[in-house]
């Protein structure tokens, strides 16, 4: 075969599938081969569904041959973050406590991508229960950044981002509670979208913080993210927080940006609080260049104040642990998951305690303790109550900003990918890495990250974050596709063309194990 099928975007692959030039089995096999060859080193996947993926691809091929009307992404492979429930694959949220657990149902997003004819390739690695910004907290060992195997791929959705960056899947699903889609996209040179809260069903997504979690697409292009968003989005009666409304075609929104390539009349707000001190020089440089590019394309750049963003991390690290401490209470060994019985037996309380002690990693325990404390009688008002007030103030900051501008932009993360082990000793420094992404979750507004170049000092990808008012996800796709097209025009190629060649499986052994955080990488279920 002349083309490497793994290099195609989902949109390109879709065209070739529709024209009959390529079969889904061929495309799926190409990705499985790529996984077999490079994932030993990268460890983006916790589970690969070799046989099931090929069977499903064959089904789609025969449906197509029989003239069935299929969705735009039918036959296109996709990777699924392990936080999402899948009927036919373990769903562990990268935790020991759920090792081997196969849910009796599919998450709504998974059911939707299946019925759209997409081919799930497997489950991707993540920080345990999506708590972390580096995948170092996965109970099954970290994922490496394909740009530099000594660095983190971001988190919690490092597996999905790395899989897409390393051409182990054209697109993937992620979940974003405080940046877990956008920050990994930023540090791997990929695209990630956190939709409007309620825009995509949470049913079947193992909950971290219910009021913040949102499932979204991970891809190499803005158009691909839009195509996936069209498949997974929309009202779901099984999620009460799901918005019941008619969404426009995000694909159409992205194509509009690709074609028009103009930002005339678009008012772009730069959030003063999301930049400057503490941001890596190369990140600031690429961001400034991106602003200049927007201006040249006709946008009006406005500096915007969001005074309460300063308190976002503090509020977030009260609300998230509070909700998580309750959401994770169900992992008690009574009905599913790991059960550890203390020597000589024990009461049900002792079995629960022993199981949770053995099943949860250090970051999970840290947040459960934080959250339990924040909700305790006598502390509730000072902690959880105050945090909710800050949340309201942040929402007002967004409202005020969107009075003046159509979109807000910032760097997606303060730095490029950092080295393994550089932040695990100091949880607070890890938390601060989410400073740019957290406000969107607190306010429920949509955010997109797309690559805007490599930082001169380390040659690693830098991401641009774009945020729109709630329900205006389409704006992100039009704007993002415009920027992407203009940048690629300048570069002459997509950013991932610069990705170093990945060592194939034979070479994996030469790579030193990533310094862990106390949990030894165990290779998962590959």
């Amino acid at each position: 075969m002349s083309t490497d099928l793994t290099r195609l975007t989902a949109a390109q692959l879709s065209e070739k599938l529709v024209s009959g030039e390529v079969s889904s089995v061929e495309a799926t096999r190409a990705h499985l081969d790529r996984i077999d060859s490079v994932d030993g080193a990268i460890h983006a996947y916790l589970h690969v569904a070799h046989d099931a993926a090929l069977e499903r691809a064959a089904e789609i091929d025969s449906q197509r041959a029989a003239g069935a009307s299929l969705g735009a992404l039918a036959g296109v492979p996709i990777a699924v973050k392990d936080v999402l429930c899948t009927l036919d694959m373990p769903s562990t949220a990268a935790s020991k406590i759920l090792e081997g657990w196969i849910p009796p149902y599919d998450a709504t997003v998974v059911a939707r991508l299946r019925s759209a004819g997409m081919i799930p390739l497997g489950k991707t690695n993540m920080d345990e229960f999506a708590m972390g910004s580096s995948t170092e907290y996965s109970a099954y060992g970290p994922t490496r950044n394909p740009w530099d195997h000594g660095r983190i791929p971001g988190g919690s959705g490092g597996g999905s981002a790395a899989a897409v960056a390393a051409f182990e899947a054209p697109v993937a699903l992620g979940s974003d509670t405080g940046g877990s889609i956008r920050q990994p996209a930023s540090v791997t040179g990929t695209v990630g979208v956190k939709p409007t809260y309620g825009g995509v069903s949470r049913y079947g997504a193992i909950a971290l913080a219910s009021s913040l979690d949102q499932v979204g697409p991970v891809s190499r292009t803005v158009l691909d993210a839009a195509l996936v968003h069209d498949v997974i989005g929309g009202h779901d009666p099984r999620d009460s927080t799901s918005l019941d409304e008619m969404w426009p075609s995000f694909e159409a929104a992205a194509r509009k940006g690709q074609q028009e390539r103009s930002l005339k009349g678009v008012r772009v707000g730069v959030v003063k609080q999301l930049g400057g001190e503490g941001f890596q020089a190369g990140v600031t440089q690429r961001f400034t260049e991106a602003l200049a590019l927007m201006e040249r394309a006709g946008a009006e750049i406005v500096e915007v104040e969001a005074p309460n963003f300063e308190y976002a991390i503090a509020a977030y690290y009260l609300i998230l642990p509070a909700e998580a401490s309750s959401n994770l209470a169900k992992f008690d060994s009574v009905r599913f998951g790991l059960r550890v019985t203390p020597e000589g037996g024990g009461t049900v309380e002792q079995v629960m305690a022993a199981s949770r002690e053995a099943g949860f990693g250090p970051e999970v325990k840290r947040r459960i303790i934080l959250g339990t404390y924040a909700l305790s009688a006598g502390y509730y008002d000072a902690y959880y109550g105050s945090a909710q007030k800050v949340r309201t103030l942040i929402q007002r900051d967004f409202d005020a900003a969107f009075e003046k501008v159509d979109l807000l932009v910032s760097p997606s993360a303060p730095t490029t990918a950092f080295e393994f082990g550089s932040k695990t000793e100091d949880p607070l420094s890890m938390y601060l890495n989410d400073i740019t992404t957290i406000p969107a979750n607190l306010a429920g507004v949509p955010g997109l990250s797309l690559p805007i170049g490599l930082a001169p000092e380390d040659g690693l990808p830098v991401g641009l974050q774009v945020m729109a008012p709630a329900r205006e996800d389409a704006r992100l796709y039009t704007f993002g596709a415009t920027i992407e097209a203009l940048l690629e025009e300048g570069w002459g190629h997509p950013i991932l063309d610069l990705l170093p060649a990945q060592p194939v499986s034979g070479e994996a052994a030469h790579i030193a194990p990533a310094p862990g955080q106390g949990t030894e990488p165990e290779g998962g279920t590959l």
């Binding site: 759920l98 049900v348 009688a377």
Partner: protein, 505 residues
Amino acid sequence: MAKAELLDFDEALELYEPVLGFEVHVELSTVTKMFSPAPNPAYAGAGEKAEPNTMIATVDLGLPGSLPVVNEQAVRYSISLGLALGCQIAPSSRFARKNYFYPDLAKNYQISQYDEPIAFEGEVEIELDDGALVKIPIERAHMEEDAGKLTHVGGSTGRIQGAEYSLVDYNRAGVPLVEIVTKPIFGAEHRAPEYARAYVATIRDIVRALGVSEARMERGNLRCDANVSLRPRGQEKLGTRTETKNVNSLRSVERAVRYEIQRQAAILKKGGSILQETRHWHEDTGVTSAGRPKSDADDYRYFPEPDLVPVVPAPELIAELRAALPESPAAFRRRLKAEYGFSDSEFQDIINANVLVELEQTIAAGAAPAQARKWWLGEITRIANARGVEPGTLVTPFHVSELIALVESGELTDRLARQVLEGVIEGEGSPDEVVKARGLAVVSDDGALIAAIDEALASQPDVLAKIRDGKVQAAGAVIGAVMKAMKGQADAARVRELVLERANA
């Protein structure tokens, strides 16, 4: 169980003033559960025959990724109940999570309403045995989900202490509950136990009249926690309360309150202090025993349930439900007594048999109140009890009214009517249809009767003589013989008329 020391009830009341409070849990009889699509065991007794863990969905097991969705019918029922309790309905109310670890609680938190209940500030009128009416202040009525059921295996007591292991049945997990909480009830004095029974009975009558719960206490559809505290006469500050659980009948409610007053008084009189705790009522021995200590500092780490949005009922819905409210049981009772001439005990029998609604509809369809009461409380309840079902499920009020009309018109005797009822219950059709199909109509052909009477009189000349002497009661023997000859299909009154006529002819 060591029996606690009790003070004489009258002496207890002399020294202390009892203050009561009740938390009544009502299981709503919606078709599905509060937050899941699983069938509701509290609907039409569905849970009675179900195998453990067969009435469950992902939410009821707290499976990772599962999400609750509020049952709209449960919200409607809760609003109706709130309105019937005279409560205000919150324009917006919220669910919260009550966090605690227990194996019957799948998620290890219970979804309940905490600081924003759907209904609040109400008042319920109860009627005491002597007809006195008392208003009980209602603090709130809120929605929540029930927990599963634990069975402790091994050990002798069936309790968790000493058990080898425990089994969990999650069928009940997620059953919709409304918890009705009173404000402190003052002034009950000697009648505190009577207040308790009358209050719970009134709640039961209200939920039954609304049709929002089966309200069978023995099945746990209606559960009462009784709070009792005592304060020395003249003291302003409330005493320490205990909360007695597991009180599963009206009689138990009454006994448990009396017991707690006597137990607490004995402790207080000796200078002791009451422990704030839950206590368990033991039906068999008639005592309460200590449960777990309970304090206001119990930390359930409540916070708003982030998986659910606030419940915001449309004002039109509230208006619609208000308009559809049935008469309150207290008003209905007064009306029944006035219009239909029922006594208190007759009314209580009707309530106990759970045929209040059926009775009213039967009367509305044209039956005489006394006849309607006779049939519903007599034959129909007897058959219902024998079959272990609710009387209302056997036969419709309209058919009962039709049956009564057939008896009134003389087409059926009582005995025949019972056979017709049996046919109706067996599904053979309406009373008219059963009469025709079974050929049960009364013989109203005087010719056939006269022939039978003449034969009977001829064979009993002594009786004939007595009748002719004016000893009319002697006619009974002849009437009996004629009815026997007619196989019961004759109108006894008409037979009597004809016997007297023929005898004196």
